[in-house]
Symmetry: C2
Subunit: 349 residues, 2 copies
Amino acid sequence: MSTDLPHTSGAPTLEDVARLAGVSRATVSRVINGIRNVAPDIQEAVHRAIAATGYVPNRAARSLVTRRTGAVALVVSGAGDAEGGEPFESRVFADPFFGRVAGGVVGYLRPRGIHPVLMLADSAQTRDDVVSFLRQGSADGALVVSTHGEDPLPKLLVDAGLPAVLWARPARPIPISYVDLAHRAGAALAADRLVARGCRRVATISGPFDVPAAQDRLSGFQEAMAGHGHPYVPAVEGDFMPASGEAGMHRLIKEHPDIDGVFVANDLMAQGALLALRDLGRRVPEDIAVIGFDDSAAVTCRPPLTTVRQPMEDMAAEMARLLLAHAADPDFQVTSVIMRPTLVVRESA
Amino acid sequence: MSTDLPHTSGAPTLEDVARLAGVSRATVSRVINGIRNVAPDIQEAVHRAIAATGYVPNRAARSLVTRRTGAVALVVSGAGDAEGGEPFESRVFADPFFGRVAGGVVGYLRPRGIHPVLMLADSAQTRDDVVSFLRQGSADGALVVSTHGEDPLPKLLVDAGLPAVLWARPARPIPISYVDLAHRAGAALAADRLVARGCRRVATISGPFDVPAAQDRLSGFQEAMAGHGHPYVPAVEGDFMPASGEAGMHRLIKEHPDIDGVFVANDLMAQGALLALRDLGRRVPEDIAVIGFDDSAAVTCRPPLTTVRQPMEDMAAEMARLLLAHAADPDFQVTSVIMRPTLVVRESA
DNA sequence: CTGAAAGCGCTAACAC
DNA sequence: GTGTTAGCGCTTTCAG
């Protein structure tokens, strides 16, 4: 309870401000939207009136005429047909990967006054919800992060003519902008390091084969190792979760007891692999060197993990930048931005 | 210009649907909003017209008249004056705690057609942004999760008369609804377990003293131990991050080499503590039993962590429920919901 | 049970 | 430079 001035019913409107400043609504609108051609003294008066009334423009009204909301959908899209376990929501948001992407998006959007709306798309129903949401004009576009290779959402978005930008190249090509990492180059960084350290019997724990990024990391690694004169690299498949890294490491050591270096396709699995190595009594990096990928869980590993860093925040920010460009200009060219990974050397290799 | 087909410029509007169904806009609106008193055959015709045009109601227009958006702000509020390190965005969203809360919120909101808008408030400026956002009518209320005890945001919200619900009791009492956990009871669960296991020399690693929940967990633990005949419990303060758990454990062992049980105020620190114990050559739980709190990182610990589970998803859902109630009815009573923790026994104690 | 009409609060031509 | 005038697309009395 504080208002004493505008004694109309609800919140102050443009009308109230205009009346108090002794000008028209249009002029107030001009001042608020920073349009020039307004006499300094009038601007002054308007600003005073705004402050006096505590006026805040109504977003719906503005949106109705400008046809843009200051929002974008941040959608995490996945299978959702999860075999038991926790609900999709918890699994996905608890992943440090999502957290960093969200952080990068917010970091870019916030200074620009745009807000991300969190959405989950894990079924035909919820994918349609995303499309409807955008068609309703509830957001100006969508940033989509798919956890699965064959996600149908990107195509739905393209077909509906809605602005959208993807995290990572889609499994099958569609005309949509995306931001990705040079996975093969990153894997090569790991191979180079392992070889430079003197590792002779190197293996790898890959991500799930149906994820393009996992394939790229695997083939990029094998190729780089071949280039170093190691045509055969034992590999086991994981699912990017810690437990699979642990299991994978056990299997690798069992089948190839003499390996002295391993490239693990992400840090979460590397964390599990390190645990396994510890249980097996192998010292890292003395007995076996380990390199992860992502730089997402590296510091909480023991020993601290040498890893290939994926600049997730920068990539997410780039997605946001592209989306805003698409939203502002429907004719903006579809593009892909591929960012470079770097090797972060800690103690494990 | 205007043909008779829905070949107007942009997206189909109510008008288009009405014309095609041969009724008035009002009737279509009634059908869409599920208002009875519409003849079945007319409903039928309207639905057909909707399908034929691919009509989707415009959110801004609806919002303008109903004065409600289908959105709520999900704000993470903190100090932000962080000493170096990563930006607030990344730190906060990468925390599994945030992920689970977001998951719980989305799980509750999604079936109800409400969408959470992600916001960060870590400075006077950004706190005002949150208030403005709500005053603009961009969201119907705010769900706020403070990372700091003395967060000014809740009071700003209350003073502005905006619907809001907090995660956890605010440091100083203000008339606002919140959802919290019975931290003392949870700590007692840990104390009981440790004592029942036969631990005689028990210590604790607490959270930062300026966080009410940390204080409650500490005093609740001390009190419960006192009840078991252990009036003195060595304690060191951590900051809820893994590194502080590790450091705290080292300090504890150094100052009290004979302890055989420790209660760590959250799982992240417990993870660090476990690492320290491993380095020190102490077996868990044989030499020393460890109990964490939250059940957030418990499974990736080695050994799997016995911990006090905080039902974060349920708590977050409850926050959302309360917020919607407040938003729907301005006279809805301010309430607090305190949920019960449970002990999850794994291997560490 | 259905239609006509009046706005919700704002921006954007178009006048002056 | 500034005011006037139309709507943006929808819900909601109020008649009938």
